[in-house]
């Protein structure tokens, strides 16, 4: 018996070898294919191990940091140039910026060790993902190799983005989307949240090169190509932690102060050219500076033409080049946010639904154009009728579906209660909660009474415990209107911002209904006072914008910064006696137009500038 077993084993071994031999030796022929999918060839390159950057290029940039004004070799457009020139490094002393992570393109360029390892399915040995851990800022990248699609445009952005990879020839080709706003260079040169990156990893012996191609419609005129060299470490170099907690760096600074330089007032704009005795145009010429012909161009460059680039060019403002993150396919799309909280996108404004053993708690009802589908979607998330609706404002993208959603719900907490003795319709339909001014605006606007709030509050806070969440509703006076609220689901740690925060346009400040730029800044700061990031300035508390993609505090901070910076510019011009037309002509939003601007539609850049101007001309609210 034992001898027979031995024989069988020998036969199996021998025939296995014969089956493998032609494939191995000739390097051709189809590898064995299993029923689970295509065959799995070995990876053409193995990136696993410890890698250190060979900083033989741009040592200053990657070490101490480049001078302000040195943006040479970057194809920046006007917005990118002005954004960078407005940047004051002191901005990093702000509590919400102290722990900013590095976005993936800069992460790969930064100094610090890297650890790379593969994640394989233990049953099939299929390569599922390649992970990269970066020492600096603890950047953690995952490159999915299993063919999964990229998330929808309304999904969150992260510093490292969402990456998928495939092998092409001897290279690992990686596509990255969903990046946060960050740096192309650490001296304030921006990379927008609309940037995408294609990378080519090649390995020659123990030399790894990562060529990055960054496309950014907001700040670049053409893709930015760079390449980063790494050498393999034989052992773990250690020192992997870069844990960051923020603290007080400048005591007593007003909460709405965002360090920045007015257009044309960057005091260090000439420092780079003076230090190295090169024309001032060198650092700010954009794409032209990348090509060989620029060397000859430098021979005739003058200070005057460079100084002209320190301010916005006269003329019309460009429009946003950002991707519209909202679906327009006539369907309602569900994005799980955290715990039992979901974001519903597709009906002209984000809707939030909290589910549990009680009826759904809904924040905002969208435009009302797809209410039937919204109700159907909510019923898929919960078998109970909608119990509560909160309106963060009266505006049509927040409360457009009130009538339909209210009618589709009921509030069992009122049925059989004292109220039912007083009101025959108590509990019929969902209860709509809002700040009192919101109801007043609905009444004044003659919106259908069936959609008016049935439960209003006057002061700064309303609270409720529902479906296992402590839910707080905070009034944000004089932001978009005078009746805005934000909603905080404390256990799930989700804040619904309504129109106070969005990722698609300048804030719609409705002056006639009590909105103001300062109130809007204050409201954004109020959101930031309630957020806690999870790690390196991202994650943790999630923010659902009125429009756009699911965010965290980083997007709110950048939005707050933008608003405070534009406010500072308009305020400075008002102080100098400028008229509204003069403010508009100065293009005070020039570094943000390619991200948020519009020249047509219901909310143009001009309207926004006018709202900022008007609200700053009014007495403080």
């Amino acid at each position: 018996m034992k001898a027979n077993l031995l024989n069988i084993t020998w036969i199996l071994v021998a025939f296995s070898a014969t089956l493998w031999a032609p494939v191995n030796a000739l390097g051709q022929g189809a590898p064995p294919s299993g029923p689970g999918g295509p065959a799995r060839p070995a990876s053409p390159i193995d990136l696993s191990g410890y890698w250190s950057p060979a900083v033989n290029e741009d040592g200053l940039e990657r070490g101490a940091g480049s001078e302000l004004g040195d943006y040479a070799g970057f194809a920046i457009n006007e917005a990118g140039r002005l954004w960078a020139l407005s940047y004051d490094p002191s901005r990093l002393t702000l509590k919400h910026h102290q722990c900013d992570g590095y976005v993936a393109p800069y992460q790969m360029r930064a100094i610090g060790n890297f650890r790379i390892w593969e994640d394989r399915d233990p049953h099939t040995m299929q390569l599922v993902a390649i992970h990269i851990w970066a020492q600096t800022t603890e950047g953690f990248r995952t490159i999915w190799m299993d063919g999964r699609p990229h998330p929808p445009a309304y999904a969150p952005h992260t510093y490292q983005g969402f990456s998928t990879g495939r092998y092409v020839g001897d290279a690992l080709v990686v596509n990255t989307t969903h990046l946060k706003q960050g740096w192309l260079r650490r001296n304030g040169l921006p990379e927008s949240d609309q940037a995408t990156m294609v990378e080519f990893f090649v390995r020659h012996g123990d030399h790894l090169v990562d060529t990055t191609v960054v496309t950014d419609p907001v700040f670049l005129t053409e893709p930015e190509v760079r390449s980063n060299d790494f050498f393999r470490q034989p052992t773990d170099p250690g020192a992997w932690l870069y844990a960051c907690d923020d603290g007080e760096e400048i005591i007593g600074r007003p909460p709405d102060a965002v360090p920045n330089y007015l257009f044309g007032a960057q005091p260090f704009a000439k420092e780079y050219s003076k230090k190295y005795k090169i024309p001032m145009l060198s650092g700010i010429a954009g794409a032209a500076s990348i090509y060989p012909e620029f060397a000859a161009r430098l021979q005739t460059a003058t200070d005057a033409e460079a100084i002209a680039l320190l301010r916005p060019a006269p003329g019309p403002s460009p429009e946003s080049r950002a991707e519209d993150p909202e679906p327009h396919d006539g369907e309602i799309h569900v994005l799980p946010v955290s715990g039992n909280v979901y974001m519903l996108a597709g009906d002209g404004g984000n809707i939030v639904v909290e589910t549990g053993d009680e009826g759904p708690f809904v924040v905002d009802t969208g435009s009302g154009k797809l209410s039937d589908k919204v109700i159907e979607t909510i019923h898929k998330l919960s078998d109970k009728p909608i119990q509560f609706i909160v309106n963060t404002s009266y505006l049509p993208d927040r409360a457009g579906g009130n009538v339909q959603l209210r009618a589709a719900g009921q509030d069992p907490s009122l049925v059989g209660s004292f109220f039912s003795l007083q009101f025959r319709d108590a509990g019929v339909g969902a209860t709509i909660i809002a700040q009192q001014n919101t109801e007043t605006h609905m009444v004044n606007a003659k919106l259908p009474a069936q959609g008016w709030p049935t439960d209003t509050f006057l002061e700064d806070r309303r609270r409720k415990y529902h479906n296992g969440n402590a839910i707080e509703i905070f009034h944000e006076p004089h932001a978009i209107t005078d009746g805005d609220s934000i909603v905080h689901f404390r256990q799930s740690d989700v804040i619904v911002a309504g129109d106070i925060f969005n990722t698609i346009q300048f804030p719609f400040i409705d002056i006639k209904d009590g909105g103001s730029v300062q109130g809007e800044i204050n409201a954004l700061n109020d959101i930031l006072n309630r957020t806690v990031f999870r790690h390196e300035g991202q994650g943790g508390t999630l923010i659902v914008p009125g429009h756009g993609y699911l965010s965290d505090e980083h997007e709110v901070v950048e939005y707050r910064d933008m608003l405070a910076i534009i406010r500072d510019r308009v305020r400075a011009m008002i102080k100098d006696g400028a008229s509204l037309d003069q403010v508009k002509a100065a293009r005070v939003t020039a570094d943000y137009d390619t991200r948020y601007g519009a020249n047509t539609g219901p909310w143009t850049t001009d309207m926004f500038v006018e709202a900022v101007y008007d609200s700053l001309k009014q007495p403080a609210k």
């Binding site: 001898a3 493998w20 051709q28 060839p41 020659h204 190509v225 390449s227 060397a295």
Partner: protein, 275 residues
Amino acid sequence: MLRCNRSRALLQAKRNSAFWFRCLILSLATAVIAAAQFPGIGPPPGPPPPPRAAAPVDLTGYWVSLVTEDWRQRMTTAPKGDMESIPLNAEGRKAALAWDPAKDEASGEQCRAYGAGGIVRLPGRIHITWQDDNTLKAEFDAGTQMRILRFGAPAGPGGDWQGVSVAGWDIPGTIMTRGGFTLGMPPGPERGGALKVVTTKMKAGYLRKNGIPYSQDAVITEYYDRFDIPGGDSLLLVTTEVVDPKYLSAPFWTSTHFKRQNDSAGWNPTPCSAK
């Protein structure tokens, strides 16, 4: 006792037949493996295709440099003593501080920054063509230089700015073998590859125009990779390692990228300049 002995004999006979059966199976397997591992045992192979036909990647055409790194040191001539990012040893630093461009011009040495150790980093265009089936030619408009990248054994005495370059295709992912057995799976059919070039015997030159030196003993190893990017453009990546026992304390690594051009637009041969 007799039965016992007969049983032993029978068992021995069975064992012998099992042994020979195992030998037969193993011999067959070994023959198949050998035929596959060593093609010479099978039908006679044809001659290997010449390097041009065997090219895993097409590097020919016009390529324009994208100066997005070390911009100041490449697009302008950095001041004397600017040695940022270069692992010079004491002798190298001393030589860099002795840089005198006027003296280079006067002595006809104005091409020192245009040699094999520095030419790829200079802003300009490269025109790569096949000179013959075994030789690639890389022309540079900066300094009007030409490098001959020959496959096979080194040829020529060297001693000029570009030295002697030996080219070869660098194909990744070859599974290691031990004792004739290959215990691994091959990479996928689309293997790709790069051009590897090792250059020696060049005149001493500059890594950068401001006199950062490399010696005639330096060994320059380069890899030329090509990537196709979304939108239809292609990139050429030249990864360079300079090892120089005289002036460098560690290998000097750079990676330089170029964008493909459809034609010769912008091709502008210029003479060397030491300034």
